[in-house]
């Protein structure tokens, strides 16, 4: 549904993105993940035909962003990083304007607006002036605007910025419900968000794609060095002495906690849970807890992005 081929964009001398390529399937939600200044917004602005790339090409819904920009814009709903709101208009007037911009026929205007107002839960504020709304509500108005005319493609630049935890959950649910009927790209630097809402993730750092996969696969890729965390009764030295000899342990840290307990973190590319437990028990130490800490996307993200920095 969306094909991105070698997009590069310069701002003057500065290169914002280089050779960005990825693909989004129909009905899929793709997360564009990256730290500040990675080039997420730049990529989205190119895909929405806000500005052209310096080189590279892309098609959105089968339409070329250069040759058929009008068609791209017709089938795409876009929430920019800063919601594009006329602060003096009421929510209703604003949505009416955007609906007209999108060329919705007169007979469908009212029902279209009602639909997005309901989706974004704006019923209570629809007659209020946008400038007087809280940041979270402004964000929702921006989101509602992007859903007008039921677009095939929806591009959301950090949709949950500025929302409170309850609203974040609501908006995530809303986005998840778009799956299937709409093809969605959303950007974020909040990792759990991407993990929860997206089927696939493109990680972008310093303008380059550094990884593209499902959240599960990305997690598995770093599975090799899983972490095991234990809480053991005993002194720091004895615990260390007991566990260190075990084969296949890459790294072990022992930190004392309160009331005679220590916290042990073990990194290994094999499953050494049994060996660890046996060693502790055999030596008469008390094993209070043993858990496996899967790497979260956050760790992968940090891992990938720091690795990239080392190369640079």
């Amino acid at each position: 549904m969306i094909d991105v081929e070698g997009l590069t964009r310069y701002y003057g001398e500065k290169r914002a993105i280089s050779d960005v390529s990825f693909h989004v399937n129909k009905g899929e939600i793709l997360g564009l993940l990256g730290p500040n200044a990675a080039g997420k917004t730049t990529t989205m602005r190119i895909l929405t035909c806000y500005m052209p790339p310096t080189s590279g090409s892309a098609t959105v819904g089968g339409y070329d962003i250069f040759e058929q920009s009008m068609d791209v814009r017709r089938i795409t709903g876009y929430l920019p990083e800063n919601p594009p709101l006329y602060t003096e208009l009421t929510v209703d007037d604003y949505l009416l304007f955007v609906a007209q911009l999108k060329g919705i026929e007169k007979s469908r205007l009212k029902s279209e607006i009602d639909t997005v107002i309901e989706k974004a839960a704006l019923g209570d504020v629809r007659h209020r002036i946008i400038g007087k709304l809280s940041k979270g509500y402004k964000q929702r108005v921006g989101l509602a605007q992007s859903l007008l005319n039921n677009p095939q493609i929806i591009i959301l630049d950090e949709p949950t910025v500025g929302l409170d935890p309850k609203q974040i959950i609501e908006i995530r649910e809303l986005i998840k419900n778009l799956r299937g009927d709409h093809t969605v790209i959303l950007s974020s630097h909040i990792l759990p968000e991407v993990e929860q809402t997206c089927e696939r993730v493109v990680i972008i750092n310093e303008g380059r794609v550094v990884a593209e996969d499902t959240p599960e696969n990305l997690t598995n890729r770093l599975r090799g060095s899983e972490r095991i965390i234990m809480q053991v009764e005993g002194s720091e030295e004895t615990v260390k002495k007991t566990l260190q000899p075990i084969a296949d342990i890459q790294n072990i840290t022992v930190k004392p906690e309160n009331n005679g307990l220590v916290r042990v973190e073990v990194e290994s590319d094999k499953d050494v849970r049994k060996e660890l437990a046996n060693a502790v028990v055999k030596n008469g130490l008390g094993l209070l807890e043993l858990t496996v800490d899967r790497f979260t996307l956050e760790d992968i993200f940090l891992h990938l992005t720091t690795k990239e920095e080392e190369v640079a």
């Binding site: 806000y50 795409t76 709101l85 003096e88 955007v98 007209q100």
Partner: protein, 260 residues
Amino acid sequence: MKAISAIFNKEFKLFFYSPIAYVILALFTALTGVFFYLYLSSFVEAAFMDMIRSQQYRMAPQKFNVNLMLIRPYFWNIALISLFTLPLITMRLFSEEKRLGTVELLYTSPITPTQIIVGKFLAGLAYYVVLLLPTMFFHAILFLYGDPEFMPVLSGYIGLILMGASFISMGLFISTLTENQIIAAIGGFAAALLLWVIGWGSSFAGPTLAPILNYVSIITHFEDFAQGVIDTQHIAYYILFSFTGIYLSLKSIESVKWRA
């Protein structure tokens, strides 16, 4: 057409949602009203003095021409006040979109830059017509109590609207250059003033430059309209001017888009 009317409606609505529009409307009405009163009272006084004089000397009273003595200078006056008012209307036309970030909405919507610019231009022009409404009311008073010629009034308004269109297209262009409304307004004043005074310069300029300066000056072309003459040459000037402003605005937003 639908896109143009969407832009037009939004823009026109926004004028009246912001207090600035009412301040401008009030100021414009007050100024044109005061001048109307001054012109009218001096005209009445002159006519009255003449009547007394003619009774004293037992002569027939002179025929005082309202069109010549009141309406014509009054149109000049409105034109001058417009010169200082229109930059206040055009300053926000595009700068505001940049400041709010709504350009991102406009440029990613299925509408063309031409539709955006034309919609905004027409909204500015419509607002100017609203500004002129009270002055039409003042003119109506003259028709109620006297019998001025109608044609010069009509041609005066045609001239004002054409000249206004020129100022608005120029102000719109300046507004596309900056996201700061104040700068857009000052730029608008400066440009309008320059085009206004350039005609005066022609009296000092040499024989080759003088006609050119005269032609460029926005004021020279208004002269005939104020006198009740509708000349296609002057209409062509204002239309050409407006198209140039619109064209430059288009080029400006297209290049900004490229650099954005």
